[in-house]
């Protein structure tokens, strides 16, 4: 038998479009796997020449899925360019809208994208292995998921000038409006019910992983570094903090302020993907690759500053006896811990006496040219916006390292590990290929963001012989 190539295109139930090629040797065994992102957008280039003040609005439009993340990271970078520190109430409001996004994004991913595999089975008929299958299996759970997403979106809308997508809140130096008592009370009124839904979601994720521990411990499980923001006590921090990097054994590699990221993070390009591969510089590429997002964060932090999520975090840390948890499927558990944290954090923020303050903006004494770096923990991982301007505030350089991009090599590694474990090139099944996709899905990638791209790709799986002859083709 000649060597063959299996292509999964696009990878389904993720944001954006990706392609996986699985190269088999002559015995039909998986030899190599590549996760390709074939879209290109070029936001970093076309933003050059724009006034830096536009970036909180422009960069939101990279994506309709996680616009708030870009809005916040851009605002923080603009704070740096303008050399202005927002007042505390503004930071609280920025963090509050961020929690709205965490809640809606994590809730949507778990229930609609991940749950079909977990609750219906990797080998379930694709006609049923989707959100409609979840509705049939557990309609109450599906309704709760919708309400959770709605709640997160309403937080965003209430703070974002009435807009759920591409909200209008942040300006350099703060935000453009304080929170009203009516909005605060409306958000608070539903919080208890939503927190109960968050607990249910967490118990579903935890329960599934406990029942499938052997699978979870081997599925796309590999050592890596981990990266995420931490607060001054080493606790989970999604809006602001220092960047911490730990190695596969949980040892500290680095902790640094956002502005110093280029001293620690490099970007590598491979010819088979438009998505860059960030890595920890001191270890070089690919050894220095790291994972971000929920699993990355749980593996770098020391604690969580809300009580219920912190208790879950303590349980999480027992999975690998206090060492970093390596199995990609544990992203789902980590994600639900963060969902619960987001809900609890909303409560803490609403109870803060400064949340209704009218002191929401500091005005800069501009000293241009300027340079600013804004880093936040987006739902999918560490997001970095880096802007430089000329003396007129016009952008001369933009660098974006987007959350999903940080996980690029990890997704490539994950898809390869699962392909090796589950794909038998002599007998292909849809379930095998779904497992490869499920590995990528653990990372909740937003490929549109990561390549600043939107694409429309046909859905095809092609099997290619070593000489390029097409052996088989499946359309989903």
């Amino acid at each position: 038998m000649s060597a063959r190539k299996i292509t999964i295109e696009p990878v389904t139930r993720i944001e954006g479009h990706g392609r996986v090629t699985i190269h088999l040797n002559e015995q039909g065994e998986v030899e190599q796997t590549f996760f390709h992102v074939d879209e290109f957008r070029g936001l970093e280039k076309f933003c050059e020449g724009r006034p830096y003040l536009e970036m909180p609005q422009i960069t939101q439009r990279i994506c309709g899925i996680c616009p708030v993340s870009h809005h916040l990271a851009a605002a923080k970078a603009c704070d740096g360019v303008a050399r202005v520190e927002p007042p505390r109430p503004a930071k609280l409001l920025r963090e509050l809208i961020h929690m709205g996004q965490i809640i809606q994004s994590h809730g949507m991913h778990f229930f609609h994208l991940a749950a079909p595999d977990l609750l219906l089975g990797f080998d379930a008929d694709p006609k049923d292995r989707n959100v409609f299958g979840i509705i049939k299996a557990n309609p109450e759970l599906a309704v709760k998921a919708v309400h959770l997403r709605r709640y997160g979106q309403q937080i965003i809308s209430r703070l974002g000038g009435g807009k759920r997508i591409h909200p209008n809140l942040c300006v350099p130096g703060g935000v453009n409006a304080p929170l009203t008592i009516a909005d605060r009370d409306a958000i608070a009124a539903e919080l208890e019910g939503m927190t109960e839904i968050g607990k249910i979601a967490l118990s579903v994720a935890r329960g599934w992983l406990e029942s499938n521990k052997a699978l979870a411990d081997m599925f796309a499980s590999f050592p890596s570094n981990y990266m995420g923001l931490v607060d001054e006590e080493g606790g989970l921090q999604l809006y602001d903090g220092e960047i911490r990097v730990k190695d596969a054994d949980g040892k500290y590699l680095a902790q640094f302020k956002s502005e110093a990221y280029l001293s620690h993070i490099g970007e590598h390009v491979e010819p088979w993907s438009f998505l860059k591969h960030p890595f920890y510089r001191k270890q070089g590429f690919p050894q220095g690759f790291y994972r971000v997002g929920p699993l990355g964060r749980m593996n770098v932090i020391d604690k969580i500053g809300t009580p219920l999520a912190n208790e879950e975090f303590k349980q999480f840390r027992t999975i690998n006896s206090g060492k970093p948890v390596e199995g990609s499927l544990y992203y789902h558990y980590a994600r639900m811990i963060e969902l619960l944290y987001g809900l609890e954090r909303v409560g803490q923020l609403l109870d803060d006496p400064d949340i209704l303050s009218k002191d929401v903006r500091n005005y800069p004494k501009l000293q241009l040219p300027g340079h600013g770096v804004g880093v936040i923990e987006a739902p999918r991982g560490t997001l970095i916006h880096d802007y430089s301007t000329d003396e007129n505030g016009i952008l001369t350089r933009v660098n974006l390292i987007v959350a999903t991009g940080n996980n690029n090599w990890a997704m490539h590694t994950a898809s390869g590990a699962v392909a090796k474990a589950f794909v038998n090139g002599n007998k292909l099944t849809e379930g095998m290929l779904n497992r490869v996709e499920a590995a990528i899905r653990c990372y909740d990638p937003c490929l549109s963001c990561a390549t600043h791209a939107i694409g429309k790709m046909p859905l095809e799986i092609t099997l290619m012989a070593a000489d390029g002859t097409e052996l088989d083709r499946i359309a989903r």
Binding site: R13, G64, H112, F132, Q153, R164
Partner: protein
Amino acid sequence: MIRTLVIGFGNLDRADDGVAFHVVNAFRRRRGQAALDEGNTGLEELGAPVDSVFIGQLVPEMIDMLDDYDRVVFVDAHVDPALDDLYCAAVSTDEAGLTFTHHMSPATLLAFFKALNGRDLEGHLVSIRGRDFDFHRDLSVEAIPLVEPAVDRILDLLGRGI
């Protein structure tokens, strides 16, 4: 009494992609209602036998709102040259996609509603072919003359009580 919701959706900043905004407002004017301005979706004014809104996209959480209606008329822009410039069709849940993320098609929304609530909503689509999707708010010369005929089709659907 059949309660109807007219949902226009699209992006006002992308020329013809926002044509539904103009259709919904023309519809509202014909019925003696105030037009929606850019900051007002109409979602705060629901409760009449016939309501009309304009939103950016269809999203899962709309199912709560849909529970108050029996019939939904979706209004949007399309780009398919094989379809009529003013394309009107029933929306069938058979055409629903099997999954969605943060936005969905009319068929998928109605299928999602049916799956969760156990009842069908009567669905219709009134769609204008767009030719210009550039970054501005003006409609193309081809789309403008289709706005009032689109309103005629919506009123026809309501009048026929189908």
